[in-house]
Amino acid sequence: MAYAAVLRSPHAHARIKWIDTENAAKAPGVIATLTGEEARELAGPIPFFIDPAVFGGKTTEVRCLAVDKVVMAGQPVAAVVAESVNDAEAALAAITVDYEVLSPVLDADQAMSEDAPRVYDDWDDNVVITIPFVEGDVEAALDAADHVIEDEVSIHRLSTQPIEPRGNMAVWEQDGSLTFYGSIQNPHPLRLHLSQSLGIPERSIRVIAPNVGGGLGLKMHGHPEETLVCVLAKLAGRPVKWHEDRRETLLIGGIEQRHRFKIGFMNDGTIVALQNRIITNIGMLGASPGWGMSFLSALSFPLGYKIAATDVQVQAVTTNKGIWNATRGYGKQGTNVPMERMVDMAARHLGMDRIEIRRQNLIEAHEFPFTTNSGLHIDSGDYHGALDKLVELIDYEELKAEQERLRQEGRYLGIGIAYELTPEAADIPGTIVGGFDSCQVKMGPSGNVTVLTGVTSPGSGNDTGIVQIVADELGVPIDSIGIVQGDTEACPYGFGNYSGRSIVSGGNSAVLAARDVADKVQAGAALLLEAAQDDIELANGLASVKGAPEQAIPIAKVAETIYTLNFAIPGIPEPPLESTRVYKPDNIRHTPDEKGRIQPYPTYSFAVHGAVVEVDVETGRIEITRIGIVHDCGTMINPAFIEGQMAGAVVMGMGNAWTEELKYDEDGIPLSTRFKTYLMPRAGDVPEIELVHQVTPSPFTLLGTKGAGEAGVGGGMSVLTNAVDDALAPLGVTVTELPVSPPNVLAAINRARANGGAA
């Protein structure tokens, strides 16, 4: 084994004049060095996970090592392979790069100005894509509204940080085939993309994703280091491993965006119009799917609110900040936060209760399925039921009374309320973001079962969930089932992990495959027990006759008989007891409707959140004292996993909104380089989470499941922001800027006080 280290650009925007690796090549332990020019001879461009060109946007060629120009600080420019990580890292210092430093453009608004530096020399401007979603006559609706609020909400640049950073290893076999091991989320699609960038057949590549220590979107591929380790391993003539440093993980960001909006509403609280111009700062345009979150931030408006006229437009802008990758929530937090701010702003303007205004505007249970203005077809829901449960869970009325009491004492308690919608299990046409997935179920002669899936687990427990589903269908004990995920050679084709899809697509395909196997077992048992197949029940490892439990045979015996006495017993089902099935959820529509809209999400989880914070108005510090959630992801396979996912997501969302921020200096150099400068919440920062499940099954998925795992991020961000806003309302503060970090909160208080306060 040999180890790789990557030399990264110290500049946000610069031309590479020349690179000299000669000294590095002679450094102790060094096996090979590589520059961008050299890599270009050995590998093609990295294919986009989602190419903006597919949607009419601009695109660029992405290479594993920069050629000619770097467009972000931290972009890989050269690499070293050595006997040890230490040797490889030490040798980086011996590489000389001559840069012509160019002025960077870091702010998205500035990047859109006429005279801004161009991130990509051959582009007319820095706008990657502009996507409008218009429904109804918004100008007229705003004119007709009793009230209009015009304001902005901005969300800062943040990141997702799995416990285990990224890691890749490439092994070339003597026959020219390649085995790639990676801490990744999408083995099959990566195989295709590696074959394209490396110029070798897809069949010659095996991708293995072993147990992954957290994905969170960060490990969706398109990163330079995937192609890079393969090229380095070829050069070195032995397996090469690269494992990322936390500083490298922290180069990758997401979400940064500004919403400039007008919202119109009537005296009774009915929201009638929304106009919103969104600008996202996607940093460097890379091949990983991050930039696409811009699309979602616009598409998801107006969530489950019934607003007759909406005009939402997003512009994704490239700058010399770090690249985006998917961050759990995939841009939907970019809808949830501003939308929930707007609803609260309207409520405050009218003096209306914040639960009431949501009741007034959310889709009612009897109106589902419901088509939103952007064409999303929301499968099912009971938002009002969830609001009722939340009011009870947090004892909302009592909380409001307590808030009033504490205000008299000069204490600033805030009650946050937020509704959250999470479109899940996406299928984006023309990309390898697939909405269906596959599963193979195999029962051997011992009755043991192996399940192979196309979905992977980032540690969320979907493997256990899928095993539970198969155990239920086959009536065999859980410990007789094994599961294999993340191996392109063993598993049926699938898309891996993203978009809350693993149980929706993976779980339901397991149902179909297990039912096929169960069918054969039932047929075999029927023959052996001399009963009708329809009367055979499978449970507790036994096949028994309905109503006559003493007439039973172990399922393992049936399996053994099928495999060993197949010639002896006429009519017994044919082996193998195996089936591979794909599950394609209903409710996805790719043919554009008369308005040109498609419907890429089969199912829509949701939650309502309540949080209580106390703000120290002298320091801006907040204390989170209560978190209450009512969550609905349809049918639940394993509530414990859902609770774990929700707890993780909501705390992640709160950290995103609170103290996590990727900051840069004026030259575009990252300042948030470790967990002491990028502050993630710890257990002591949050109270125990109070979670109530509501179950509104999806009519469009086999088991009625919706996605779980992403919901909570947008909700956590929104509810914390709204709680801080509520706490500071008496001071005249309206929170429009995230994060709600102590310095930002104190600055908002200072500004409000300078303006004379007054709520």
């Binding site: 280290a5 990580v85 230490n86 890292e89 030490a90 980086l92 210092a93 440093d245 500083r247 002298e618 320091t619 801006g620 510090r621 609170w658 103290t659 900051k663 300042l671 948030s672 380089t673 470790r674 967990f675 002491k676 400068t677 502050l679 993630m680 919440p681 710890r682 257990a683 002591g684 920062d685 970090s741 102590p742 310095p743 104190l746 600055a747 200072n750």
Partner: protein, 284 residues
């Protein structure tokens, strides 16, 4: 992973350590717990030719002396917490050590001397040492000298330590029997560095009247500073007086520190808040 080569030394005494330090002629790094140094080696911020590890130089431990209590430079936060002497005579250091984040790993590894020598504004020990009017003993090949904490800290990441010098011990004068301590630390969340700290040493008579007061603020300026508390002497601590002290603390924050977590304006504004809170904490 540390990307550069260096020579590692583990001297068994102060003499040996200062000898190695002199021989290295500036191209050496002393490490105590290494909780600052090792990450900086990993990030390539420090690239010394020699690492001089003090953990075997017999510099750890707490003892009583005529001058007060003597704390060895490599005494860890855990050792401070376990020391009955510290609990009895310098409870302020106990409270300070209790608030150090990073869990048992950092408390077992990080040292009070390391925090002092690094002299970062984002650290707990400096203001506490200034409030206690501690004295720091610095040794070099030629001999030793004592420096008061207040003058030891010269700015952000700057101290009175000269090239070739080591911190060997910290002496905290024995406090009068009527002393009360107060401590306040502002951090953003569990994982945050301290943003501003304040430590207060208050002597009260039987009626709660202040006989003496010493209040230091850390993290606000580039170095810890003493707040003028003369107005407290001869009167009980009241809210109004505390507000007055807060104002003085804020005025004294005239060289505020800025880093990625908080800018100078923020630190200046909260300096008065932590000062007031430490004072009120000491008074109750």
């Amino acid at each position: 992973m540390i990307g550069q080569r260096f020579e590692y030394h583990a001297p068994a005494s102060v003499e040996e350590a200062v000898g190695l330090l002199a021989a290295a002629n500036g191209d050496a790094n002393v490490i105590a717990g290494g909780t600052w140094v090792v990450p900086e080696l990993t990030h390539g911020i420090r690239t010394p030719a020699h690492i001089i590890d003090l953990r075997h130089a017999e510099l750890s431990g707490v003892s009583a002396s005529d001058a007060g209590i003597t704390i060895g430079a490599t005494t860890t936060y855990s050792a401070l917490l376990d020391s009955p002497l510290v609990g009895e005579w310098a409870a302020l250091l106990h409270t300070m050590a209790l608030g150090v984040t990073g869990g048992a790993q950092v408390r077992n590894q990080g040292t009070i001397g390391g925090s002092a020598c690094y002299a970062t504004p984002s650290s707990d020990a400096p203001a506490a040492l200034v409030a206690l009017d501690a004295s720091l003993t610095l040794a070099e090949a030629g001999g030793t000298r004592d420096v008061r904490a207040e003058t030891f800290f010269e700015g952000a990441f700057r101290s009175a330590l000269k090239q070739g010098e080591l911190l060997t011990e910290i002496v905290v004068p024995e406090p009068p029997s009527n002393v009360q301590f107060g401590y306040d630390k502002l951090k953003f969340c569990e994982s945050s560095w301290p943003i501003a700290t304040a430590a207060c040493v208050l002597g009260l008579d039987g009626d709660g009247v202040v006989e003496f007061a010493r209040l230091a603020v850390g993290g606000a300026n580039t170095k810890p500073y003493v707040v003028d508390t003369s107005l407290l002497v001869g009167t009980p601590v009241t809210r109004d007086l505390a507000d007055e002290v807060a104002e003085r603390a804020r005025e004294a924050a005239d060289d505020p520190y800025t880093d990625v977590l908080a800018d100078g304006a923020y630190r200046q504004q909260v300096s008065g808040v932590v000062a007031k809170r430490a004072l009120l904490d000491a008074a109750t």
